[in-house]
Amino acid sequence: RMEASCLELALEGERLCKAGDCRAGVSFFEAAVQVGTEDLKTLSAIYSQLGNAYFYLHEYAKALEYHHHDLTLARTIGDLLGEAKASGNLGNTLKVLGNFEEAIVCCQRHLDISRELNDKVGEARALYNLGNVYHSKGKNVASAGTHDPGDLPDDVKNALQKAANYYEENLAIVTELGDRAAQGRAFGNLGNTHYLLGNFRSAVLAHEQRLLIAKEFGDTSAERRAYSNLGNAYIFLGEFETASEYYKRTLQLARQLKDRAVEAQACYSLGNTYTLLQDYEKAIDYHLKHLVIAQELNDKIGEGRACWSLGNAYTALGNHDQAIHFAERHLEISREVGDRSGELTARLNLSDLQMVLGLSYSTNASMMSESRAVENTFSGTRPRAGRRHSMENMELMKLTPEKVQNWN
């Protein structure tokens, strides 16, 4: 009687998760666990699905807990395939939590068991997961410093190179298996790894493959991702016209998918690209579009960035009144969100503009020294709070060495 009830609850949880309602699914699975069962294989399946549901809900501590229960259980009952799966899921969760070393151990276990069982599908999936862990590890270390793609310390380069190798190994297997969806994923992440390594031509080749597969599946989200990644790579190849074309496709699809945050990102990228093309009118047009959406989404960091970019573009056009307006707004927002680096940039921009307009020199001098003090104390720190998800990985605009030289 109790057994049936646990099973019924679990089946309902499964149905709800499959239908995309993880939140409701979780409550049914948790109720099933409360009721309990003596069938350990059923319990293992419940733990695993609870772990995945929490993973998709971004509750990673809970995901970790349940995948760990699942792993223990699978080992207890000697279910090797179950152990491999639990290890893989645990590895993915540890990766998201930033525990890369343990993640590697778990994903390696997934790989070893899959090979032992001669399970090609499992082997390929474990290789993809391992690639993802090394990619995250490399990116994580890289973002702690201030590096551009291609300009990396050795440990970062090693991790990224390992990621690329795992993606290549994965690709060899999924190509043999004819699994196009898996190929698409591997090409996308391989492309991003090459991008970070500074291999921009290889990045383009991989993202072109990703694009092809996305179109095959009619997967608009993946198509949009590919356009955006292609745009980024072409920026670093110095081919700004091509980059602008890809960013425009991104913008088109973002609008089609009604994703305002992604739309804002595309406008920002286009504004930057037109700045590189020295077409400041178009740059302003896109940065204003970005500003409007950032305000609509109450994204203060994005708004600050838009003001900074607009200030620069108006300066380039010699429209100093507008330039000052946006520089002041940038300063205001930087203070509001506690962005010291942004505050420094805004102060420097303002003092420059004020000099041009013949305003007080003494004010400027004090601003400059204050700014330098801020720079010395807070260099390298970056604000985290309040960032919109799509902006999360965005590099803060840095002062270029030549710009700093100009000031000194």
Partner: protein
């Protein structure tokens, strides 16, 4: 100070010469993770199938 301001304005414009470095936005778009799945439904349909096969063969044996 007008000519000075003019010169500074020109300098200021030359400072905003675009640089890939300042404009770099590291908004890479990653592919989704793949999670391994287990299912109660699958397990039970297998069990159920197993017992059906068992009952069929045992019925046949009984005949």
């Amino acid at each position: 100070s007008q000519p000075l301001a003019g010169r500074q304005a020109a300098e200021l414009q030359s400072k905003v010469v675009p640089s890939k470095q300042i404009l770099h936005s590291d908004n890479m778009e990653m592919e989704p993770e793949t999670m391994e799945t287990k299912s109660v439904t699958e397990y039970f349909s297998k069990l159920h199938m197993g017992s059906l096969v068992y009952s069929c063969t045992s019925k046949r044996k009984n005949k």
